[in-house]
């Protein structure tokens, strides 16, 4: 599944970068995240619950590794999730651009992800995967933006 998009944060890039590196913030922002802990310099482990069509609250054990980091511009996430109803494996590239706006700096995020999805979730959830993926991404980004606003 390929998900690409752009999102604008109402704040400076350095602050956005900070948020994206904070597991406590991410755990709150990412829908369905039950836990997310930092287990190494650039690696995280967590448990997520997702609902796709006929599969409700399917749990995935997720490993995320951050690579090719260029603070505060760019990083690549390697995601490896395994659960009772399938797996997801792939990468997401995140790029942050700061733009000076009249009201202050804003940060434009370009994201592109290519995830392989397999098992039952691919077999019976296929019709809904993309829309669920888009919806979850939007919820996460909106929540991050709200957190950013609260911190500024």
């Amino acid at each position: 599944m390929i998900l690409n998009g752009t999102f604008t944060f109402n704040g400076p890039r350095a602050k956005v970068w900070e948020l994206l590196q904070d597991p406590a913030v991410l755990a709150k922002a990412l829908p369905g995240t039950k836990s997310l802990t930092k287990v190494g310099e650039n690696s995280y482990e967590g448990v997520m619950k997702v609902s796709v069509g006929p599969m409700s609250a399917a749990e995935f054990a997720v490993n995320v590794e951050l690579k090719d980091q260029v603070p505060p511009e760019r990083f690549v996430m390697h995601v490896d999730g395994k659960g009772g109803v399938g797996f997801t494996k792939g990468t997401a590239t995140i790029e942050l651009l700061e733009i000076k706006d009249q009201a202050g700096p804003v940060t434009v995020m370009n994201y592109s992800s290519d995830m392989q999805i397999g098992g039952k979730i691919a077999a019976v959830g296929q019709r809904l995967l993309e829309s669920v993926g888009k919806m979850m991404t939007k919820q996460a980004l909106d929540a991050l933006n709200a957190e950013l606003k609260a911190r500024l």
């Binding site: 392989q116 397999g118 039952k120």
Partner: protein
Amino acid sequence: MPAGARYLNARVVRNEDARLLTGRALFVDDVQLPGMLHVAFVRSEYAHGRITSVDVSAARQRPGVAAVYTAEDLGAYLKPGPILVSPPPIPGLVFHPCTQLPLAKDKVRHVGEPIAMIVAESRYVAEDALRDVSVDIDPIDAIVDLEKGLAPGAPLIHEHLQSNAAAHVVQRKGDYAGVRGSADLIVRRRFLYDRGVSAAMENRAVAVQWNARAEELTIWDTTQAPIPIRNGLAQMLGLLESQVNVIAPFVGGGFGPKIMMFYPEELLLPWAAMRLNRSLKWTEDRQENFYATTQERGQVHDAEMALTKDGRILGVHDVFLFDTGAYDPYGLTIPINTQCTLLGPYDIPHYESEFTAVFTNKTIVTPVRGAGRQHGVFVSERLLDLAARELGVDRVEIRKRNLLGPDRFPVNHEIMFQDSAPLIYDSGDYLPTLEQAAEMIGYDAFVRDEQPKLRAAGRHVGIGVACYVEGTGIGPYEGARVTVEPSGKVRCATGVGTQGQGHFTVFAQLVADALGVDVEHVKVVTGDTREFHWGTGTFASRGAVVAGSACHAAAMAVREKILNLASAVLNVPKEQLELADGRVFVAVEPDRGLSLGELSAKANPLRGAVRPGTEPGLESTAYFGPDRGSTASGVHAMILEVDAETATVEIKRYLVVHDCGTIINPMLVEGQIHGGVAHGIGNAFYEQLVYDEQGQLLNASFMDYLIPTATDVPSIETAHRETPSPYNPMGLKGVGEAGCIPTGALFAQAVEDALAGSGVEITEIPLSPNRLFELIERAKEGRT
């Protein structure tokens, strides 16, 4: 058949329906045994990859789990499955046998391949334990597309081979290259035919009981071939054949994939039951069925037909790829069926057909109803339609010009059929069949009067007429034992399995006619190795032809015993005796006789001796094995309307005129045809397995995989013609697959005709409203 046969060609109501309709029929999942444990399988979520670890320790700890097995635990039992059908002896044939392990070790080659087996006190616990198993797989790029699979540098599915080619076969008749130059017209296209599932109503199931005291293993299995399964399992488990019973009770649809596959589940449950000394059961769920039960149909053809300007076929040249899936246990039956069936009822003097079977990271391919025949019919029928258009000849007329005449039989096609015998058509009468179909559907009047009016009114209504032949009733043999019991009732046991065809009725009809008893008094037993243990199974439209002929032969032998004994008892020459109403009596003096029950008691006396050369009882066993299959044929015709905006299709009329030789029961023949047409319609317009580039099946449920419902299947008109086969005593031919063989070709023809002038050309099956919409849009772009 003796004179006065009451039941041959009669609409006898099915003997088995009372049990089926009142829920008293036994299916494998109905088997409940004391202390029975339940099984679930951990299956690969990756289509292609290397297994780096399988950790089952947590599953073993779960309360209620009795055992967990991986490939490591199987020891010497971990062996690749057998090659089920050896390729025929075709010169130059290349075949690389690669069969599946019962549990994957080192590598997985398709989604759904079993990796571990969990045995637990209930299916619930077993399924929960599935999630305790941690499997690590290093993915390898999957082979999904046939041509990419053959490209140099493609990842190898079986690494000991040089490429992903599983087989290569060329068959020739005449000299196509030589005749091509003299053709007035060459039509050439690429044709695609994609995969589907058989979608039997009952999924697979296996239940096993190991009786340690008797040292006897009993297996209830949804198999079409209980005897080969018993023999194979006995050998693999180190038991005598007589220690193993395989029972295929009522089975809710076979359609091919339930044949003697030696599926991993079939092999593992008996092995584990013996180890654990417990009864076990596994029933496949619908999603497993989409991955773990074999499938059919992916083929890509590059074909051309050479014709004279008056529409006579000079020859056909076809090169095709065949998707065999991850392994090839069933050999080359399907592509050879395709190769042979392409010739159809036509006189094609020059033919060259070459195919390459390709391994892919998809579920294993084995025959599904039609078994490759529909692909061949699709190619030849479509080429004829295209040629008719190019030459300005009517579609029915071009077929008439090319049909083999009745004086041509037997027709030797000089190529090898799937049963390792030369492809010979035994008999047929094709022209009257085609004429009858065209007349029934009102072809001439429709094309001349009705269609122009409909078109003028802006409606897209098309007509199609497609011909086919079907090789049926192949050997090697089947057998039957017929016994008259002292009650006067008759028992007939045969080895083939039954999956709803009506064996309990047709075999009973044959026996009843031979013995002069009521058909309800013949109790047929099928698919139980305790009852009869010689034979092969139900496949290739052969049940009625081969097992039916054996039942007939056994009953005729019993008839002879009845006549001999009655002649002695009544002191009347046997030529003067008659059998009717369950009695044997003197023809001119009907009161002088006795019931078959009484005679049966006399044949098994409590005092006195069995004289040399005689046997006790009124019982006989007989076998029948034809030298080669008999060729059924037929013509399907349909009228359909396409909604050009939504690309949905409404079938207005569908009819089948077919010839399956002597008919035992017209009602059951019609039932077979109706079911086949429903399958064919699904194949033509609804069903398609969709894989992503990594070999993930994206529509593994009936939410997304469409099968036709009752509202999508029209009422089907049928007409019977009977050209008896000379290859068996009653002139029978098979009919199990006739309904679905030309359906794709017919659908394509009728849709194209409905959209005539739009530039839409149909060279692929399955269609769907979506796909047809794309083709209509593409044709519009092409025109602008």
